[in-house]
């Protein structure tokens, strides 16, 4: 190792030395590129053969799992394999995703539906409606066992919670993503995807509501939030913890959510083509309600607050807007209180603002009655 020219010239002191360093590193990059191309045929993952594989099932016994792809880091390519941010070398198709993970075929029949191939920042209600309609159609088939959704991690929890409220089945629905792109060394995507399919195929995962699978942890869609910008263990249910784990020996659950979800949900979006506009305000010192007025002017039917300017709220309420009080702390409940009832503001329990927004949106498809909406926030 010490005789490698790149390492030996890594502390250039003179202009010449820098020039030498540059030309040598260019050579090195050329060598790396060449070897990368050569390795390309065999795939870029270092430890391809070392993956533990569940006992292969006889073909007829393999459960049918629907894979619904929307894109995200799990389907993203970087310019080189150490690139963990601003990866912009295109995305892998669902077929490439599956070809990369032949172990999946030994534990399930995968049936692919591509919804989109974009980052989570671009996901809108249109994608969400298309996604849930496709999942509901798939899970309504008696021969299917569960569904897996790939998603960018930035807003993954929003789509997962939306599905938790709108999927009409007790079959497992698992939303999966990755913190490192498809092309990176030590990428987490393949194992996350493998585990997601195992959870979706697990009878123990039925009636758990929609779950999120990254980092071996099975987390409830309602309670889980992305808590870190880059770490692999980013998805955390801060108040409550995970439901269980996807370990090598088995899929194991310790907890069952007891609030309403999926097949026990009253929300039905099967005939909807759009959802009401709901916005979120962020509270800080000297917040004067300008944002609330602007949202109302833009046609918001509901606004989720993290604090509030009382006068702006009153103006919004006069225009028929429903207000829900959440909080910016990221854990703990907003308590039901006589004061919030007097002000006509619904409390969001421990839903963070961006999830309170999803529930309020769906609530507004059915009612604008504040007591009724408060009931929904207490039950979902």
């Amino acid at each position: 190792m010490t005789s490698h020219p790149f390492l030996r010239s890594s502390r250039p002191r003179t202009r010449d030395a820098i020039r030498t360093f540059r030309s040598r590193s260019l050579q090195c990059i050329a060598v790396l590129l060449f070897s990368g191309l050569a390795a390309g045929a065999a795939g870029q993952e270092l430890a391809r053969a070392a993956m533990p594989v569940a006992k292969p099932m006889p073909e007829a016994a393999r459960p049918k799992i629907g894979l619904f792809t929307t894109g995200g880091t799990i389907q993203s390519k970087g310019e080189h394999r150490q690139k963990l941010m601003e990866y912009g070398a295109g995305r892998v198709t669902p077929d490439e995703l599956l070809a990369d993970l032949p172990e999946l075929a030994e534990i399930a029949h995968i049936e692919v539906t591509e919804i989109s191939n974009i980052g989570s920042g671009g996901i809108t209600y249109e994608h969400q409606l298309a996604l849930v309609k496709a999942i509901n159609a798939y899970l309504a088939r008696p021969d299917t066992a569960g569904a897996v959704v790939t998603h960018g991690t930035g807003t993954l929890e929003e789509t997962a919670y939306f599905l938790n409220l709108t999927v009409k089945s007790d079959k497992p629905v698992v939303v999966v993503g990755a913190m490192r792109p498809f092309t990176a060394v030590s990428r987490d995507g393949p194992f996350n995807l493998y585990n997601a399919v195992r959870v979706a195929a697990s009878p123990d995962a039925r009636d758990m509501g929609v779950v999120i699978m990254l980092n071996d942890e099975i987390n409830a869609a309602r309670d889980t939030t992305k808590s870190n910008t880059y770490r692999l263990e980013t998805f955390v249910a801060r108040d409550l913890g995970p439901l269980g784990y996807a370990d090598s020996d088995r899929i194991v659950f310790y907890r069952r959510p007891i609030y309403r979800h999926t097949h026990r949900s009253e929300f039905d979006v099967s005939d909807l083509t759009e959802l009401p506009r709901v916005d979120v305000t962020y509270d800080y010192q000297e917040d004067d309600g300008v944002a609330i007025d602007a949202f109302v002017a833009a046609g918001a039917k509901g606004i989720v607050l993290t604090g509030s300017d009382a006068e702006a709220v009153k103006r919004g309420q006069a225009a028929g807007v429903v207000f829900v009080q959440s909080d910016r702390k990221g854990s703990g409940r907003v308590l039901e209180s006589a004061r919030s009832r007097e002000r006509g503001i619904v409390t969001a329990d421990n839903l963070p603002p961006h999830k309170a927004r999803i529930l309020l949106r769906l609530a507004l498809t059915k009612t604008t009655d504040l007591d009724e909406i408060q009931r929904m926030f207490n039950e979902y």
């Binding site: 309670d223 249910a237 108040d239 409550l240 913890g241 995970p242 439901l243 269980g244 784990y245 370990d247 090598s248 020996d249 088995r250 194991v252 659950f253 310790y254 907890r255 069952r256 959510p257 007891i258 609030y259 409940r333 308590l335 039901e336 209180s337 329990d349």
Partner: protein
């Protein structure tokens, strides 16, 4: 209101009335040692005619039942110079309790000056029997048990496995003595009674309520010596909260407990001897040999990483297994599962799932009362 409705409670009713009279006569002197309660906001008035659930408040003692002087002393309380807090004192210091439930007091404290060599299992046996009896009483809706915090999680887990009931049993304690400044005991006790009185707490196994969190007996662990947020559920988190507006649950445990436990309702006179051995770099095997010659029927390994042993311990485990000792592996990581692996199966070691070593010990003790078959014990560890 403090009442007792059923003949099952003749004992505690008598005790309660006796101590009530005593409390009244001692009120002026006892006031000096009463809980440090803010005087600015008196407790709300209680409607005497309201329907309330009945909650048994059982004392197994603990810091919550201890006094310290002066009130800033939150580390060196109790002892012969500070009289213990009797259940009646809690009731007198916290009249708000009567607004939540009809409180029935029950004193199950261990003797203050135990004979040398007395086994604390006597307390477990007595309390388990009593909890089974009380839980069967149709007039009782829930039970609160106070306990010292150090091994509270062990007692709660044992009761989680042997008490046959769907009714809430809520363990509670305090990190600061009853008389300490900013003592956490009164709020904890108040909340524990609220949890025990709530319908939503039924069927969730033995619970633990402190610091406004509701935990399960199986998963809760004391994680800090002095902080009031010491109790956490290892791996899987709380299942609900005792918030000011309501008792709220988000989860229920999926592991077998109380009425679903195959050990529930049995009066165990004694349990098989099981010890715990810690693995660390170069940990010797002779500790295991000593445990075996001392008559253990089971061994809990508190292994490194995912339940691993040193070479010396591995050899000693081989010797122990030849003598019929059942071996269960747990991890010293305070989180994460010890998994079933082919190598562990070949070595005949049962994976302890994510149970803490001291709780795996309790489960193995109970398991050994019915079987020595490793496959059966592995099933028990996977289900509880």
């Amino acid at each position: 209101m403090m009442t007792s409705r059923s003949s099952t409670f003749s004992l505690c009713r008598r005790r309660m009335l006796v101590s009530l009279c005593a409390a009244t006569s001692l009120l002026s002197s006892a006031a000096l040692l009463a809980q440090e309660i803010p005087k600015y906001a008196p407790p709300p008035e209680i409607d005497p005619n309201a329907e309330r659930p009945t909650v048994v408040l059982m004392s197994m003692g603990g810091t919550i039942a201890s006094r310290g002087t002066p009130r800033l002393n939150v580390t060196n309380y109790g002892g012969p110079e500070n009289p213990r807090v009797d259940p009646e004192d809690w009731y007198r210091d916290l009249p708000e309790l009567a607004g939540i439930a009809n409180i029935v007091l029950e004193d199950q404290r261990a003797p203050q000056n135990p004979e040398p060599g007395r086994s604390t299992f006597e307390d477990w046996r007595r309390v388990a029997k009593r909890l089974n009896e009380i839980a069967k009483d149709p007039s009782v809706d829930g039970i609160v048990v106070t306990h010292g915090t150090n091994i509270m999680a062990e007692t709660a887990y044992y009761m989680n496995l042997v008490v046959d009931t769907e009714k809430p049993i809520v363990f509670v304690g305090a990190q600061r003595p009853w008389t300490g400044l900013s003592g956490d005991g009164p709020r904890n006790l108040y909340d524990a009674v609220r949890v025990a009185a709530s319908k939503e707490a039924r069927g969730k196994g033995v619970l633990h309520a402190m610091n406004q969190y509701i935990h399960t007996a199986r998963d809760v662990d004391k994680t800090s010596a002095y902080r009031v947020d010491t109790f956490k559920d290892v791996d899987v988190g709380a299942i609900g909260f005792a918030d000011p507006d309501k008792i709220v649950f988000y989860r229920e445990p999926t592991r077998r407990h109380t009425s679903q436990s195959e050990f529930a309702g049995i009066d165990f006179e004694s349990l098989p001897k099981v010890d715990v051995v810690l693995a660390y770099r170069d940990a010797p095997g002779y500790v295991i040999d000593a445990m075996v010659s001392n008559g253990v029927e089971g061994l809990i390994i508190e292994g490194t990483g995912a339940g691993s042993l040193t070479a010396g311990q591995t050899e000693a485990v081989e010797r122990a297994k030849k003598k019929g000792v059942v071996v269960v592996a747990t991890a010293r990581t305070q989180g994460g599962r010890v998994q079933a692996t082919p190598r562990r199966a070949a070595a005949g070691i049962v994976p302890g799932d994510n149970l803490l070593p001291e709780k795996a010990r309790i489960l193995l003790q109970l398991a050994l009362t019915v079987t020595r078959d490793p496959a059966e014990i592995e099933r028990i560890f996977a289900e509880y």
